[in-house]
Symmetry: C2
Subunit: 327 residues, 2 copies
């Protein structure tokens, strides 16, 4: 493999000049830069990123820990984080936990400065003791409440859920069910709390259906169970868009009109929700802002070596009203 020196000899410049070009420094004469670039192409020189990062005291990697990439919300989020991380010269290592506590604990425990400069973790099941002392700066994402002195970036899920349910109440719906309850998921706990507040404020009765995971099939199963109850709900708020689209499908199969007979709202504003038939009313977190905020916090601690109290960054959200609730 070609070395810096090979490139320098071929270009007729000093090793230092080649190094300046490779490292992207600005003050290189245009003529020399051109000669170096030609020589780099001719020799096929590859910078040793490992060695370069070692010199800089960084690994060049950050970890992103999510439940599962096949859930479009996490796919979209991961895409945003990879883009934001690339601006800081970071490559992103992605680990999946399936929201399982043991896997979350293992992945987080294995993080260390020999492997990554920092991590962005979207936990679903770990308890504080599991990640009390991470070996690198960790930013927590999302809704799982962990009373730890770690940075956190998320949206106000209680308010977001209340907002969605108040929208259904404002439409005159009185039998409003919720799909997604789960005993150990922070997401579920906070969104259920918001639902309960709104239902109590309106003097209505709670109708709660659990979901084991948050895929279309889970939403379809929960909706089937709700529609089999003696009194049918006239609205359903689902804890993510996949649950909601599964529910829409079952309503359709039962010959119910959405939203006339039953209004359905989701959460996440994943790309499909604007194009489904009917299009889906949903809570839209600012995913790009969330990705940027998380990456910036890791960078400030891991690379800028800033010392500051744990941050709790609240990212804005909006209610996107579409056809599944408004005819």
């Amino acid at each position: 493999m070609a070395t810096l020196k090979d490139v320098a000899v071929l270009a007729g410049v000093s090793v230092k000049t080649v190094s300046n070009v490779v490292n992207g420094y600005e003050f290189v004469k245009p003529e020399n830069r051109r000669r170096v670039e030609d020589a780099l192409n001719a020799t096929g020189y590859r910078p040793n990123l490992g060695a370069r990062n070692l010199r800089r005291g960084r690994t060049g990697f950050i970890a992103l820990v999510v439940p599962e990439l096949s859930i479009p919300y996490f796919g979209e989020l991961a895409g945003g984080i990879i883009a934001a991380a690339a601006e800081h010269d970071w490559s992103v290592l992605i680990e999946q936990t399936q929201g399982d506590r043991a896997r979350e604990r293992k992945v987080i425990t294995d993080l260390g400065p020999h492997m990554v400069d920092g991590a962005i973790v979207s936990p679903q099941a770990v308890v504080p003791d599991d990640i009390a002392t991470p070996g690198v700066p960790v930013v927590l994402l999302g809704e799982h409440p962990l009373p730890l002195p770690l940075d956190h970036v998320g949206i106000d899920n209680v308010t977001a859920a209340r907002t969605a349910v108040h929208h259904l109440i404002d439409l005159g719906r009185t039998r409003i069910a919720v799909i997604g309850q789960h005993p150990t998921r922070g997401t579920a706990t906070q969104r259920l709390a918001g639902y309960r507040q709104a239902i109590a404020e309106a003097g209505l009765t709670e109708i709660v259906a659990p979901a084991l995971r948050y895929h279309h099939s889970d939403g379809a199963l929960a909706m089937t169970e709700l529609l089999d109850r003696p009194e049918r709900p006239d609205a359903v708020f689902c804890f993510n868009d996949m649950l909601a689209l599964g529910a829409v499908r079952v309503a359709h199969d039962r010959g119910l009109r959405v939203p006339d007979d039953i209004a359905i709202a989701g959460f996440d504003n994943t790309e499909h929700s604007a194009y489904s038939v009917p299009s889906l009313t949903t809570i839209a977190p600012d995913k790009a802002a969330l990705a940027r905020a998380a990456v910036d916090l890791v960078h400030r601690r891991a690379i800028d070596k800033e010392d500051f109290p744990p941050q709790d960054v609240s990212i804005p959200f909006a209610l996107e009203v579409r056809e599944s609730t408004t005819p």
Copy 2:
């Protein structure tokens, strides 16, 4: 940070025994294993994966290079590859290229043994010279044809596209359009070839609409353009599910019944296609088999150091017939 020795002292066993437990060897007395596990928890010992991998002559990482994770097909594929890689103790680094040739070339050129043990690359735009001599074992995924001596795992896209179009022909459709043509994308080139074969075999006329990217909005735009032509198509084959669902949405907005007035088929069998209204007829590649085959090939070359001729592994696919083509 606790060392192996600290753990051994606390557990009252040898360092070797601790090492055997940490490395997952089977032949450790249950009593000793329990004591070591307690001591591991008590000390918060973290194995130095970097050092371990160095000893083993591997980095512990493989790279996955895809256009964009926010496309559900790539999200699902990445999930499968992370799962398959975990079985080989690999963490997966994911890079996004947006299907841009310069970014694809840069990402692939930067791969090297200092960074990853191997790579799985889903290219869309690179030409052979860009990746003629990768620094680590590379498995190419998908449809971009590169006449290089590298392993390749994919499905027979020409046949798959022909199968989808023949299905539309068998339903009696005669004005069958295609959405997704793109001058530099391998995916588009191969699927277009299959479409053209089927159309020619049936003596029909080609109706081709391009797509800049493969999101819902691109499908909606192409469908709008097709429906504005003097003679409306009675069927559309789209090069992925997102294009197809965007097209379904536009048909719905124009008051057309799918499939009665216009049949629509997609490609990829992403999770949503079974639940959309109408559910989507689509080509279903065996994504889990694809992920496993790619990871296994990297492992055989990178870790087992096997030497064998470049493999071209063809993964099976099926046509999933659903409501968007059959009433």
